[in-house]
Symmetry: C3
Subunit: 204 residues, 3 copies
Amino acid sequence: MVAPPDPFAVANALGLVAFGAAGALKGAEADLDPFGVVVLGLLTAFGGGALRDVLVGRTPASLLTTGDVTFAFVGVAVAVVLSLSGVAGRDHPALALADSVGLAAFAATGALVGVDAGVSPFGVVLLATLTGVGGGSLSDLLLTRVPVVLREDFYATPALAGGVALLAVRAANVAPPAPTATCVGVTLALRLAAIRYDWSLPSL
Amino acid sequence: MVAPPDPFAVANALGLVAFGAAGALKGAEADLDPFGVVVLGLLTAFGGGALRDVLVGRTPASLLTTGDVTFAFVGVAVAVVLSLSGVAGRDHPALALADSVGLAAFAATGALVGVDAGVSPFGVVLLATLTGVGGGSLSDLLLTRVPVVLREDFYATPALAGGVALLAVRAANVAPPAPTATCVGVTLALRLAAIRYDWSLPSL
Amino acid sequence: MVAPPDPFAVANALGLVAFGAAGALKGAEADLDPFGVVVLGLLTAFGGGALRDVLVGRTPASLLTTGDVTFAFVGVAVAVVLSLSGVAGRDHPALALADSVGLAAFAATGALVGVDAGVSPFGVVLLATLTGVGGGSLSDLLLTRVPVVLREDFYATPALAGGVALLAVRAANVAPPAPTATCVGVTLALRLAAIRYDWSLPSL
């Protein structure tokens, strides 16, 4: 019998590939040199997970295994090919899509690590949010831009909702990978809808 | 007999409310959307303490308990009410006051955690300073502003002096909560005096 | 018999003095006030090592001992004297040299800590790179500049090569301090050559 894939491992790999690509595409759009593009891709991929692990007192897996690194490089490589082939130009939806997938996948890993570390329900939701928005915010900071988390209302909100959804499905005793899949699905759906319909709240 | 309140808990609650309000007011002045205002308030409230806890190898209390979260939200809520009611407009002293109280309260929590973790006297003063200035610096960074700690001479200095004062009062064997109260008082008095009298040092 | 100096301790002291000076010179060039100059020097000196220690779950040595602090202050003091005496003006090579030495020395401490913590070979190289570029990137961020690591191709590359060199010399069973010395030498030589000959890669 083949063992079913670990929900954390799947979400983690998905997030690393997606954010590696999103960070590299963002770097290419900002006219960084090739090395800067790679660095921005790797930092975007590793940033949220490193923040998550450091907050609960773990050594980031990206330092311990070679798997995480491989996934991040795959994402960067895909982005470089897309950029060089001219497929992904400025404001191409590929960047928004990759970033949304990374947000959703990392929100799930943050919530799972929070549950595993025994933090409070609020802590689980906060870890989901921070892990989801961490990579994109770090790459914005490095490019000296106000992070998207402050510019757009519905960037952190979907990750937060995903964390709440994961807790709700777990509380209903639904077996894995349902909680993880629900978290990824809720976050991704809300984020893509927010981009598509340009959701925002009025200023104070 | 009622147990006296724990000095750390009091300073921590005070700092969370004050920085939650200061961060939210700063976000409103920067014309962020409502969600951005809340996010900036929470990150300002949690930033310094998270830095402090991670540096001494603890999981931040904001992830473990709901108390910290509640205090931060109280500060954000007060700021939102003040903003909406037009009481706290641009350059209103409420922002400077809330920020000064947060600086003083978190300097004390940083020093107390440093003493508890057995770091060196310099480490205690450094933790007091970093914990005090962490929240305001993080919110400045997110708004892509040069952090106030680099722009003003007497922002980190009061927190540093507060840390030294806490060590001095402890060394004199004065019972709690005197060391904590002295740290908060010294930091707050110096910071408010620096704002009132516009203290600065000449450029090199 | 006199015990030979510990390679880590030597590289660490060298990096603290060099980055303390580089950070303070950068602050003086940015027209910060004297206190800001000192703060930027200290944060540049401590930033990379703190990141390194937090990632492997250690409390940063700068909090535990007074030695690290002393070295950082020596670097800051040298920079202040150079600035006041007019020796180190804008674009003076002293800043680039101090920054390159700090990069090389901290790359070595990052690699050594990584080996000691039992991380993967990639993790060792990543820690060498992050520890090397951490201080300079943090000071750039605080000045709201795009970090040099994203602006220049051959800033992170030399630290990365130094980490690989340390692993290679260790794998060849050469006795200490050869691995550390090789890492510092390779990093410094590549970085200085990159500055001297203006190495860069074409944009994507």
